[in-house]
């Protein structure tokens, strides 16, 4: 069984800034991290491998520096990683990105399961998993909170606003997992040492046989017309530990010390 996990490198949430003219995210000089939802996707794949045997392939589209999140994926337990990097990919919207990922999946060969995080922290669209499923013309489930293999397919619990659906899916399938699906492991030093030495496969548009008219801005049917900056109020956060009584007393003391009470 082959499982591909789609991973995105995103700017650290606290550092996000937008160019006031181009309305695009400023990525230079900003610390980048793995999209937090993708840890859950990766953990789901690794657990399936541990229980049933599989190959887990981490896949990411991005600039060369996105290699860092793929190495982190290997440190966590992915068997190998593929970076899709090409200037011609720049400006791709979610539909063009789904097409690029689909092309890479076809090049990998028979992929039984594609797992994505629920959404990316920067774009927040939650469209990539459905986009890949549409591009591959295979079944999908979003909002997945539980996964188990069953016979030749999968049974997933799809969370809804009220309650959940339990779905039986045939393979190949595409899943978008929620945060509650598992508790992702934290990689250890040995994992990072292995990942630092891991060979990184890099594919460009030609490697995956991409049609140039379907990638980048040309291949993107959507446009960002305008964006608006929301001014956030500055907040100090303090987490009180201990029992509810202790935390309450502590909160009163802190508020008093700060002159609020």
């Amino acid at each position: 069984m082959k499982i591909a996990v789609c991973i995105k490198q995103v700017p650290m949430a606290s550092d996000v800034k937008t160019d006031p003219v181009t309305k695009q995210l400023i990525r230079e000089g900003i610390e980048s991290v793995m999209n937090p939802f993708d840890y859950y996707a990766l953990e789901s794949a690794i657990r399936i491998r541990e229980e049933n045997g599989a190959e887990v392939i981490a896949l990411s589209m991005g600039p060369p520096k996105a290699e860092a999140v793929l190495r982190e994926a290997v440190a966590m337990g992915a068997d190998r990683a593929i970076l899709l990097s090409d200037r011609r990919f720049a400006g791709s919207d979610t539909w063009a990105t789904s097409y690029i990922l689909k092309q890479a999946l076809l090049k990998i060969g028979v992929v039984d399961l594609v797992i994505c995080g629920k959404q990316a922290l920067d774009g927040d669209t939650a469209q990539i998993a459905p986009g890949i499923a549409a591009q591959l013309n295979c079944v999908q489930a979003t909002g997945v909170g539980e996964i188990s293999l069953s016979g030749s397919g999968l049974v997933v619990k799809r969370l809804k606003d009220r309650g959940y659906d339990r779905l039986r899916l045939s393979l190949p399938a595409v899943l978008a997992v929620n945060k509650g699906v598992n508790v992702p492991r934290v990689p250890r030093l040995k994992g990072y040492l292995k990942a630092a030495e891991a060979q990184m496969t890099v594919w460009n548009a030609d490697d995956i046989g991409a049609d140039y008219s379907l990638i980048g801005l040309n291949g993107s049917p959507t446009r960002v017309v305008s964006t608006e900056m929301v001014q956030l109020r500055r907040r100090d956060t303090k987490i009180f530990t201990g029992t509810a009584g202790d935390a309450g007393r502590y909160l009163m003391s802190v508020l008093s010390l700060k002159g609020v009470l």
Partner: protein, 252 residues
């Protein structure tokens, strides 16, 4: 005691960062100081002291290593840290509640057999370690003189009740009345923490209260001041600059 920050989780320049850590560790231990290894300080993911020591074959001669241990671990990792520390002759632990992050699991009361509490704090960890490991470890706890005194004193009383062997303050600039009170009343060793970074604002950010607004904070002068004000208290040095300060400290 000299605190050595652990290398952060990343493959970037990993060998270089590990080598630099090993060099600082050896320098510290060879100079007769105790090397103190942090545990995901400020919630930033870093490698654990025990795994780096094991990987780099760094030893802990004569109790010269102290490992910080907080509540943000899975049970299996927590037990592995304790067992490995015992095996590697790391016998001093600073047990703290710690700073969490979305990526870190948190120990549950049931993980350490405590079903009569709602959450695991440093007090529960201390009780568990003392119960499960007896006198294997010298256990220390933190005292934050910047927190509301009544609350902090009550917390310290619970830590003392859990069987701690020493206390480490938060960084002291000059002196602090709560630390003075502790020095005069505490029956176990009190380590006074010295802030060795010239960036004093960082300390305010760390503890959540404004400490001092001076622009020309001199850590070495402040350390001298601490030696004068607390001559009998050993010092715990945080954020030592190994390029510019270590040799000066060693000379002393």
């Amino acid at each position: 005691m000299i605190e050595i920050p652990m290398p952060k989780h990343s493959c970037e320049k990993l060998s270089f960062r590990l080598e630099r850590f090993a060099e600082r560790f050896r320098k510290t231990v060879d100079a007769g100081f105790c090397a103190c290894l942090t545990d995901n300080a400020m919630g930033s993911l870093t490698f654990q002291g025990h795994e780096v020591m094991r990987e780099l074959s760094l030893s802990a001669p004569g109790g010269q290593v102290m490992i910080h241990l907080n509540t943000f671990h899975s049970r299996s990792e927590f037990m592995e840290i304790l067992d490995t520390c015992a095996e590697m002759n790391v016998r001093t632990l600073l047990v703290i509640s710690g700073d969490g992050s979305a990526r870190l699991p948190k120990l549950r009361p049931s993980d350490i057999g405590m079903n009569n509490c709602e959450t695991v704090t440093s007090v529960e960890l201390l009780r568990f370690i003392r119960h499960a490991y007896g006198d294997t470890f010298q256990l220390g706890a933190a005292f934050n003189q910047y927190e509301p005194p009544e609350h902090e004193r009550e917390k310290l009383a619970r830590k003392l009740d859990a069987g701690i062997d020493f206390v480490i303050t938060q960084p002291v600039i000059g002196s602090h009345p709560e630390v003075d009170r502790l020095r005069d009343t505490l029956k176990i060793p009190l380590y006074v923490e010295a802030w060795m970074s010239p960036k004093i604002q960082l300390l305010s950010d760390c503890i959540g209260y404004q400490i001092s607004d001076c622009d020309d904070f001199d850590p070495l002068k402040t350390l001298n001041c601490l030696h004068e004000n607390y001559p009998d208290s050993p010092k715990y040095l945080a954020l030592v600059n190994f390029s510019t300060q270590f040799d000066v400290l060693k000379e002393r």
